[in-house]
Symmetry: C2
């Protein structure tokens, strides 16, 4: 099932011709309408007419979150505010937030990307889609909302929180699709089970995952709990919102809507563009955005891309799920480690619940990592000897995965925080000393 078969299965050569045309007109508009690009490109002595092939995009300087912040609020808009119909922004916990502006056409383009993804998940006009993503300045809720309207599903815009009410509505309204962050999804399932409701019995056909990092093991856990497939949805406010990449039924990578976003993978240190199947930092370019075209945005998200045709028939490139961030990796004793590695190690052990916190401290001159892990009720009551064994197993598994030794602390079930939005699993206390 395709939402837009012609585009989604377009032969790559045609697709690349389409991308080139869109890239050329995007660069031209940006250069002519947005002083920021005009200045940056003039300084780099690169001009719209220099974009003769897709490869020529590499001549253009990157844009970063800091550039977006400096353009706050509307410095990157290519149109008059009169043409802007909606404004979003990132949370802006440090410094000014990043603003994202949408024309009427942009809102439709955004909905198009999600509509393709919902169709991949098998969600259409017969379905009832419960959207637990937050609405507001955050783009997670609205992206799904507009996409749901486009495919004609009935959206339940319930937003995050009120978990028991969520479960009641899911059951009473007969939701067939769910959208949540993996950590909130597990929380939902746990609360349902506590109340004697088996999430598998709810008749959920498909789950859309988004807005935070996760591992295959977490996906398996969610799929087991709800008895259905969970699909990855990727996106970011700077580029438009969720919908940049979404998994098809093959679950072998996220199809990037390549007629709408142009992806590159770079080495975060050398900034060189890397080839297919080589892990690096994702760089994205809006190919189809009127309000605020963002060109070569360094996402800081680490992934890799394949251009091989997918078994689903789609020709659009696939990115792997995000394995970490080039800026939130924890560097300890010279080794770069990512929360996702810890998570993977934990889940391999099996006795641990996928609830954990990573605490980084520097008691003297050396960094130390403590990983607090919830263990199942059984283990916790098995006695000290058994707990020590589990602790050792987890420690070894983490050492295997990351190459470093960490302190493992087992805690009682349900004592670590549950996250209703993006999970914040790393507490870095090194700056506090």
């Amino acid at each position: 099932m395709f939402w837009n078969e012609e585009i989604e299965t377009m032969p790559r050569q045609d697709l690349e011709e389409l991308q080139l045309k869109k890239l050329q007109s995007t660069v031209k508009r940006a250069f002519e309408k947005i002083p920021y690009y005009n200045k940056r490109y003039s300084e780099a002595e690169v001009y719209p007419e220099d974009i003769e092939t897709l490869k020529d995009i590499e001549k253009l300087p990157f844009i970063t979150k800091d550039d977006l912040r400096e353009s706050y609020p509307f410095g990157l808009f290519a149109v008059d505010i009169k043409e802007i119909k909606e404004l979003h922004s990132s949370s802006g916990t440090t410094g000014k937030p990043v603003v994202s502006g949408y024309t009427e056409k942009d809102l439709d383009t955004w909905a198009e990307t999600i509509a393709r993804g919902l169709t991949m998940m098998g969600i259409g006009e017969d379905d009832i889609l419960q959207n637990t993503h937050g609405y507001g300045m955050f783009t997670g809720g609205f992206g799904v909302h507009y996409g749901s309207h486009k495919v004609g599903a009935a959206i339940i815009p319930i937003s995050t929180g009120q978990t028991r009410r969520q479960i009641e509505i899911m059951k009473d309204f007969g939701a067939t699709g769910l959208i949540f962050t993996p950590s909130y999804g597990i929380h939902l399932a746990e609360v349902a089970l506590e109340d004697g409701i088996d999430p598998k019995e709810l008749g959920i056909k498909a789950i859309g995952f988004g807005a935070e990092g996760w591992t295959e093991e977490i996906r398996q856990r969610v799929e087991e709990l709800f008895g259905t497939k969970a699909y990855n949805i990727y996106g970011l406010t700077e580029l438009m919102g969720p919908g940049v990449g979404i998994e098809c039924e093959a679950q072998k990578g996220l199809h990037i809507a390549e007629d709408i976003y142009y992806p590159e993978i770079i080495d975060p240190n050398t900034q060189q563009v890397l080839g297919e199947n080589t892990p690096g930092e994702l760089v994205l370019t809006n190919l189809e955005r009127e309000g605020m075209p963002v060109i070569r945005f360094r996402t800081k998200d680490l992934t890799k891309i394949t251009y091989e045709k997918c078994e689903c028939g789609r020709t659009h490139a696939r990115m792997s799920r995000i394995t970490g961030r080039s800026d939130d990796m924890i560097k300890v004793k010279g080794v770069a480690i990512f929360p996702s590695q810890i998570e993977k190690a934990l889940l391999k052990v099996g006795d641990a619940e996928p609830h954990y916190m990573i605490i980084v401290t520097r008691p003297g001159t050396l960094d130390e990592i403590e990983v607090k892990v919830e263990v199942s009720q059984d283990i916790f009551f098995d006695g000290v000897k058994e707990m020590m064994a589990v602790q050792n197993k987890i420690g070894k598994s983490i050492e295997n995965e990351t190459g470093i030794r960490v302190k493992v602390t087992l805690v009682e079930p349900k004592t670590l925080p549950r996250f209703e939005g993006k999970a914040k699993r790393v507490i870095d206390e090194r700056n506090l000393h």
Copy 2:
């Protein structure tokens, strides 16, 4: 300025013909498609063909919130769930919530009512509208959102809370329109003033008020604080959401979108339909709703209606602002009193801030009302004698307004709760004893 001049200024005779046609087809569809209506109307021996004039609506039984609850979740839908594109519900603090379902056309009709209102307020495609109403199952946020899209303003869907961020965004994005509940608006202004920002300097052109009761004095206060006009927006989830009635620039009542909602005023005790300009309970009928037509819904909101042509040129009936609810009035010593009366009395005195709580207790066999009121800093430091004088003044003013004596307690500024949603000013402790 009109959004839909032909409809909004339609001669009353034409309007009533249009209403009759729509009423007839609504009743027919409800009777044919919805077992609830079929049963109720059959029991009352009233049939679609009995609706020959608008007046004939009085033959139809009322529908109440309890009926809606009993039809939970989709018992009142006239279409297949496949046709439903969005679901909302009331908060459901007592019993099952009330569900509201929308087809694609219904969402457009809803947007149309708000678009008319935003145009009355002078908000159009040049404007930036900051919407502090909550999104989610609550209809406040989405109604305004869809209306804003329709008139082409740039919506900031910031939702409630994070007050300092609200103010920063208001200033930085250059919001020209604001949507808030009166109590949250006053809170916003207070926080801005604390931070040395004069809300009058923010360049706000118009304010839309909704989702809770208020008085003319509260409106004046908000208009003074923001240096602009504040317009009343009325609606309820059961009927669709906000947009049933909205004030025009004359601010002499809320124009009911009469081609979309048919209003009646009844005596809440005898249930008789009352004439023009006579206060009573508002009863509303959806004239233009596919998904879930609600016919003769008892809103419990108290108001009155005039059919006199407005100075703005609109012919649609005007309702007065809601003065109370037929079910949340406090009955004390046999006298029915409403929070709005207390509020009015307080604001007449002048020394009191519009922050108050009403506590109803029954220490022995008789009810007692205590009104806690914040007074300004000055009064509070003037000494006991001065405070006693203010207390007496407030007590007399309340007695004038309601006819009963209450206990008045003055409290320090900013000690009573601020409400970010609907203000809850009455604490009725009589059931606890």
